[in-house]
């Protein structure tokens, strides 16, 4: 068993209105960062996962996303395993 550091990114599904992202984009524009577009605000979740392999750690992290960390109706997720 090895402990793997896992990074999960949860973002609002493309095509769904993301009012937070819109508000941040407007604020960036107001601050002079007019080059910024397509802002979406999600969540970053870090966790340590004990597993036999990197692939196994990723599989478990994906199961966690499907079950709890992301809402399958409204969010997409990305899983990265260090090491």
């Amino acid at each position: 068993m090895t402990t793997f550091k896992v990074h999960v990114r949860v973002v609002p599904r493309a095509g769904l209105l993301d009012p937070q992202g819109q508000a941040v984009e407007h604020a960036l524009t107001a601050l002079g960062f007019a080059e910024a577009s397509g802002v979406r605000v999600g969540k970053a979740i870090e966790l340590a996962v004990k597993a036999d392999s990197k692939a196994a750690a990723e599989a478990r992290a994906r199961a966690m996303c499907d079950k709890l960390l992301a809402n399958p109706v409204t969010e997409d997720y990305l899983v990265e395993v260090e090491g």
């Binding site: 609002p12 769904l16 009012p19 937070q20 508000a23 709890l68 809402n71 109706v73 409204t74």
Partner: protein, 232 residues
């Protein structure tokens, strides 16, 4: 026989008393069930009240869904038991997959707290049988994450099967001057196909007491009397 109504209390529930009082006013014997409890104590009806269960951590309703009591509520609903989710309770029902769709952050980011107009669309449910189709109700909403969302196929099924229970309209029953929270098709509440599980963002529990000047919501609590009588 007096109907027994279990009001589930999660850490962060804050409309539990409103729900309890409303059920009592409807003539039911209402009592609390703590979220760690798995025994519903012979309930005829379960209410998941409004509030901010578990601080709305991760997503509204996401953690509450896994509390011990929810396994019992899920089983209760599977047996046809009537379950009403109000506001945060609606969010929990969607997170638990007991109702389709999801509730996202309001379209304009702002928390909305105000009276809204509602049109009753489905009366074949445990909680709306005492209303007539097309009835105009006024009730308060108070939520930051009430934007009902569903994928295209699910939405088609919800609309096609007539599962929308209440829809936002203007306070006078006319068209909305502006969207309440950005919900798709201005959906305020839905039911499952069987009609025993209902969730809505507006608060019938805050519109059931004559002292508050509005009893439009009381029908949600009296309707279950008919539902239970019909099932016996």
């Amino acid at each position: 026989m007096t109907m027994k109504v279990a009001v589930v209390r999660f850490p962060g529930s804050n409309c539990d008393d409103d729900s309890l009082q409303s059920a009592a006013r409807a003539g039911c014997k209402a009592y609390y069930v703590w979220h760690r409890d798995t025994d519903l104590h012979g309930a005829d009806v379960v209410i998941l009240p409004g509030g901010f269960s578990y601080g709305d951590y991760l997503r509204s309703g996401a953690i509450a869904r896994f509390s011990p009591v929810m396994q019992s509520v899920l089983e209760f609903a599977k047996q046809g038991g009537p379950v009403l989710g109000i506001c945060n309770g609606f969010q929990i029902l969607c997170e638990a997959g007991m109702l389709p769709g999801a509730l996202m952050r309001n379209g304009r980011l702002s928390f909305v707290s105000r009276p809204v107009g509602l049109k009753v669309e489905r009366t074949e449910t445990a909680f709306t049988s005492r209303y007539a189709r097309g009835d105009l109700l006024r009730m308060p909403v108070a939520h930051g994450e009430g934007r009902f969302t569903a994928d295209a196929g699910t939405l088609e099924r919800i609309e096609g099967d007539g599962l929308v229970v209440v829809r936002y309209v203007g306070l006078d029953g006319g068209p909305l001057p502006e969207t309440i929270n950005g919900s798709v098709n201005e959906i305020a509440g839905i039911s499952n196909a069987a009609g025993n599980v209902v969730g809505l963002m507006p608060h019938p529990d805050r519109a059931s007491d004559p002292a508050l000047g509005n009893t439009d919501g009381l029908g949600f609590f009296t309707s279950v009397l008919d539902w239970a009588a019909a099932k016996r």
